[in-house]
Amino acid sequence: MTVERALADRRLVVVLGPGGVGKTTASALLALRLARRRRTLVFTADPARRLADALGVPLARTPVRVRENLHACMLDPKASLDALVSTYARPRERDAIFASPLYAHLSDAFAGSEDFVAMGDLYEHVESGDFETIVVDTPPSRHAVDFLDVPSRLLRVFETGAVRWVLRPGGFLAGGAASLLATATSGEYARDLAGFFAAFGRMFEELEARARRMQTLLGDPASTATILVAAPEAAAVRSAAALATRLAERGAPPAAVIVNRVLPPIDLPGPSVPAGFGDLAPRVERAARLYEALRAEEAPHAAAALALAPAGARVAARAGGLRTLARLEEAAREL
């Protein structure tokens, strides 16, 4: 089965996987592949220079055209957040937000705030209707599935009443459990935090509405497909397996698994290196044996990673040396 068949005509394709397995490259390959039939946007995290060079356009927060049917944009959390505040906060709130020292550290304030901000931009691209398919390369997070949970995590904050509660005059400091946090960290800190939330209040309403929409979209298997990227090594496969389990628990197992960085299959004939290598023979022998050992080590991990995919949606790829758009396209055809 081809990747297109596995993805059918989903509007969102979310690429998930542990850190360091090549999610960004896999996303670019997928997008190139899908762009043959559909207007596609690839929404990447910070790409390697080599990949950015291969795409051949300077990536920015707003989509730029790579070629026919394919646009690309890059996650820029700071710029996106500034834009969000500028758009939705009232002028006085806006000044208060920008002036708050908490705002400068907001990237730490929200667990996985890059995901959160990415969700805001993603929402706009979905709303714009400019693209038939959006491939989302997820930013690094402690738990890779966090990205899909951003809307519900946000909604949880709204629904627990924490926000309304700090917005109530004197609520944060007068309140029960949260005032313990205030005792432990000093009153000023709690007041700063409360003031900051108050300034964010109007934005929260807007974000709440967005979060609900995105939750619906991400939770709907007819609209959203997930692609799991793994590398053939023990730790990456363990993380990928945990991820697959969580996706299945959500009722939406991955549509396909891409095992990246798989060594090309080269089998060594004969017990030892044949004639013809001259003085290179001992070095070739050592290197070829090392290659064999690396393949032997990765084989069970690659198989275990592929087994995480529904039958027929298994893809093994090696994305090394992709320096040009032509090479990227060639690799995309192999998916």
Binding site: P18, G19, G20, V21, A48, R49, L102, H105, S107, D108, A109, A111, E114, P140, R142, R156, V157, T160, G161, A162, W165, V166, G176, A177, A178, L180, L181, T183, A184, T185, S186, G187, E188, Y189, L193, A234, A235, R238, A242, P264, D267, P269, G270, V273, P274, G276, F277, L280, R283, V284, E285, R286, A287, A288, L290, Y291, A293, L294, E297, G321
Partner: protein, 294 residues
Amino acid sequence: MDVSAARLFCQGPGSRRVGELRIVLGKGGAGRTTVAAALCLSAARKGRAATLVTLSPLAPGTGVAGDETLDPIPFRTLAIDPRAELDAAVARVTGLRLLPRLLSLHPAYAALADVAPAVKEVASLDRIVALSRQTDLVVVDAPATGHGRNLLLAPRKAADLVAGRLRERALAVESALREPPCRATVVATPEEMPVREARELLELLDANGFHAERPVLNRCLPAVTQDEEEGDRLAALANAAGPAEAWAKAARWIDRAHREGEVAAADLPSPRRVPWIPSPAGRLARVADAMEAP
């Protein structure tokens, strides 16, 4: 500093022992856990008491850093949950023993504790610094990439943001992290992105007054050819059908990966090289050997 400030976290200043503290940083998949465990193994070989600290629970039944042959493990392992550390610190200052469990059940507290910047990290680091004063070596397997960076910068951020007791603790933790017994080790594989992140981390450590060890370049492959002539010979054999073809192709893959890796790693200042060790059995011992090499 008032008494309650010392009571807020588990350890005040003035403990007896000043053990070594090592924080292992790097991009996901670079081998932080392996390098951190190898540092502990290396210390254990010298008869020193070492503890490997992770900030997320180790997956059950996985052995230490993919080496199931290490039995018994000659060092302690400890998983710290940053949120639990914060809850415990809050409970200590309020003096209520049952509080941590009650707190985590209170949705409003949970929501606010989740979004409060830097305090969870400071509570965790405070525990780690205290631990390092009770043993010879504590090695922290820090979270990947940005999360590792945020961990190191948390005390400064907390000190900038808050006043009162937490600020004092944050400053104490920060100065402990800047003392020479605390050093950071940055791990990368010889590839563009891991090396780029390693360089950024080294610059950040330097700019913030932390001590850094030589970076570790993990999973290095050996060179096969030494000059262009040898490279051409190998390429010719790899492109001609015959019994030599597969051998030459495999060796050439290693040779090219080595060369690409060297180009990618060129920007990393005097890295300590750890070879790519194919078999998980005994891997940790061999990584420890490479880390001990002069």
